[in-house]
């Protein structure tokens, strides 16, 4: 069985250079874990592709469903809020979609990432790799869907003749990074916890719903919350990391802090009248908080990971 190319193949790997050293132990530093994660970028990409492929396997429209579904939803909202239940906010569907799409991304990412380790037990039990990649890949595939949904939103804006605030548009990548950070942090943390407490995946759905209503997506932060008068309420709202994110999206995409109510013809301040730097500042604080949370999440994950193969 031995042949010429056999040993040649060997020199290419086994004898060539210093082999990769891997230490299996319970005490892994945060730095080491982050390095492991960055070494596995290729795997992350592969997992994201896999997830999208599996989701739309055997469906004719495939990934187009990601765009069809929100297109129909937006059309319904346009009919409901634009024609039937007029609330006086012009192009309300754009206002709604700027916050709603990113929220849906956030909510789906967390809910699905929470269940992912349990759902992919087959792989977790058999192969060694930094398992938080599974949670991150879930967030990654949701990001792909979000990008496609933004295309739909852009089309809507063109059709309705609603231009974004071009000057405020650089808020979008910063806000997206912020929400990505929190989605990954919560996803990693909860996916590990869910292995031990399976209730987590059910609890999180309820929790996310409450969180949705505590974030100014379907109503106006400035008009309905700040306008209430209690300053402390505004501060509580801004402590919610999703508030600056949603506000930034609304500021950039809806882009009109003051509107004229179409019903009462009275001008209304629906978005905060702040300078753009305040938006960046708030996002910056959220990002700092997000990194701290992510650090904690990876730490907890690596503690709990040791027994995944047995608990599943």
């Amino acid at each position: 069985m031995t042949n010429a190319e056999g040993p040649a193949g060997l020199t290419s790997s086994a004898a060539g250079g210093t082999p990769k050293v891997k230490v299996v132990t319970s005490g892994v530093t945060l730095r080491r874990r982050v390095l492991d994660l960055s070494e596995n970028r290729e795997l992350l990409a592969s997992l994201i592709r896999t997830e999208i492929k599996v989701k739309y396997k055997n469906s004719i429209l495939g990934i187009l469903w990601t765009m069809v579904a929100p297109a129909i939803t937006l059309a319904i909202y346009w009919v409901v809020f634009g024609l039937l239940l007029k609330n006086g906010i012009p192009d309300f569907v754009i206002y709604l979609a700027s916050g709603l799409l990113v929220w849906t991304f956030f909510a789906n990412s967390i809910v699905m990432a929470t269940a992912v380790i349990v759902a992919r037990a087959g792989i977790v039990k058999k192969v060694s790799f930094p398992r938080e990649i599974l949670s991150i890949a879930t967030v990654g595939s949701q990001s792909v869907y979000l990008l496609l949904q933004w295309v739909v939103l852009a089309l809507f804006m063109v059709v309705l003749g609603h231009s974004p605030d071009w000057v405020a548009l650089p808020l979008v990548p910063v806000a997206f990074f912020t929400v990505l950070l929190y989605a990954v942090a919560f996803g990693v943390l909860l996916s590990a916890v869910n292995v031990y407490f399976r209730d987590t995946q059910h609890l999180i759905e309820i929790f996310i719903q409450a969180w949705f209503w505590l974030t100014p997506i379907v109503y106006s932060f400035w008009h309905n919350v700040h306008g209430h008068g209690a300053a402390v309420l505004s501060w509580i709202y801004l402590a919610n990391p999703m508030t600056p994110v949603v506000l930034a999206f609304q500021r950039a995409l809806y882009g009109r802090p003051i509107i004229t109510n179409t019903e009462t013809k009275v001008p209304e301040q629906i978005l905060p009248p702040w300078h753009l730097t305040s938006f960046y500042g708030l996002l910056g604080l959220s990002i700092i908080g997000g990194f701290v949370l992510l650090g904690i999440a990876i730490r907890v994950f690596s503690r709990l990971e040791g027994n995944f193969a047995e608990e599943l």
Partner: protein
């Protein structure tokens, strides 16, 4: 000093087995103090090292901790204490197949699996055809893996593991699956790896495979490493432990004697008092090819002119290897009233090693017919120093004739 491929340093793994799985928050809240569990030490301070380029075996009965050890080496489980240092790319086949995604095609799974082993897409492209050829799944490579048979599944898993150019290959029991031809192919590939100086860690419940392939072994018993060294010695210790564990079921099977006589029925004219099996002189272990004897001590109240002794030899796996009847062999025996020792001697026992059981019987016709039969009446050990596989050692000559 030789370079080490895998260095297992004082690895201990503790599991907590909960009496009842208090997994949900509700139960945690309702019964905060009632989380009863007992600790299971799956591994206790296991330490050994595998030199680079060697083939290493791990032996142990079910529940001895060998799967846990293997998972720790692969990094699927983390040890409670201690650490494992792995130098080089490690590909593993744990239990049945690698981690495949059932919804994906074989092709996509190969890429996913490759990525998990740390390969770039271009690297997988380069070996993809080899993987498919080795697995012999050309027709099915674009079929979703969920439609694969378990044989196909394992074939693909093995094909990926051996074609991604691993420096260390870890194989858990997998050579026991698949059809014989594919098993042979896998073994050939394992041998090829050995010749190329790659490191192989091999877990099997089949001592034959371990002896054939491995240069050294560890034997695990209840999570502790009880032996580390030569395969033949390791196999002997492994079998010894296996037999000790079997005692509760068998009765009292020690290597030499077995006083196995349930109270004889009152009307029976004779009864077997004891049975011994093994080396004709000592009734100890027998070497393959050497003489063996089975000796039955019989207590009889009557005389029989033409009785016969029956001996059946059972392999370690429970296969009946031979059934000998002294009457049919042309050696009727005479039984006198009182105690008679009937001995059947086999001059050259060609059986391969292991713990063999013996069933014995004594029968005689006449006015008071006699039919005694005792299952697992005795047991003896066969030792073997050679490399042959199977159940028997056969002598053979080989010629090459040009046509």
């Amino acid at each position: 000093m030789t370079e080490l491929a895998v260095d297992v340093q004082g690895v201990t793994k503790r599991f907590r087995l909960f009496k009842e799985k208090h997994r949900s928050v509700k139960e945690r809240i309702l019964h905060p103090g009632r989380v009863e569990f007992h600790e299971v030490w799956a591994l206790r301070d296991v330490a050994f090292s595998v030199p680079k380029g060697s083939t290493f075996g791990i032996l142990g009965h079910n529940g001895s901790g060998k799967s846990t050890l293997l998972k720790t080496i692969c990094g699927v489980l983390q040890p409670t204490h201690g650490q494992v240092v792995v130098r080089g790319k490690l590909a593993a086949l744990l239990e049945l197949g690698a981690g495949f995604e059932p919804e994906l095609s074989g092709r996509d799974n190969v890429y996913l699996n490759g990525a998990m082993l740390g390969l770039k897409k271009s690297e997988i492209d380069a070996v993809f055809d080899d993987i498919v050829a080795f697995s012999e799944l050309e027709e099915f490579i674009d079929t979703q893996v969920k439609f694969y048979s378990s044989g196909m599944y394992i074939r693909l898993g093995f094909a990926v593991a051996v074609n991604v150019d691993p420096e260390i290959l870890v194989i858990d029991e997998v050579l026991a699956v698949g059809d014989e031809r594919f098993q042979r192919k896998c073994l050939d590939r394992v041998r090829e790896f050995q010749e190329q100086g790659r490191t192989i860690i091999f877990v099997s419940q089949s001592p034959e495979q371990v002896r054939m392939l491995c240069e050294s072994v560890v034997v695990l018993h209840h999570g502790e490493m009880i032996f580390h060294g030569e395969p033949s010695e390791g196999i002997r210790i492994f079998r010894e432990r296996l037999n000790e564990m079997g005692e509760h079921h068998v009765g009292a099977a020690t290597d030499e004697t077995l006083d196995a006589s349930p109270a004889p029925p009152v009307q029976a004219p004779a009864s077997i008092l004891s049975v011994r099996a093994g080396d004709p002189a000592t009734f100890g272990a027998v070497a393959t090819g050497g003489p063996a004897a089975i000796s039955v001590t019989l207590q009889s109240s009557l005389a029989y002119d033409e009785a016969s002794v029956l001996v059946e030899i059972i392999s370690p796996l429970g296969i009946s290897l031979a059934r000998l009847d002294s009457a049919e062999l042309g050696h009727p025996v005479v039984i006198q009233p009182g105690t008679t020792v009937l001995t059947m001697t086999i001059p050259h026992l060609p059986l391969l090693d292991g713990h063999h059981q013996v069933n014995v019987g004594v029968s005689a016709r006449g006015e008071h017919p006699l039919y005694l039969w005792q299952e697992q009446a005795a047991a003896f050990e066969i030792t073997y120093a050679g490399k042959a596989e199977g159940l028997v050692a056969l002598e053979a000559t080989v010629t090459a004739t040009a046509n």
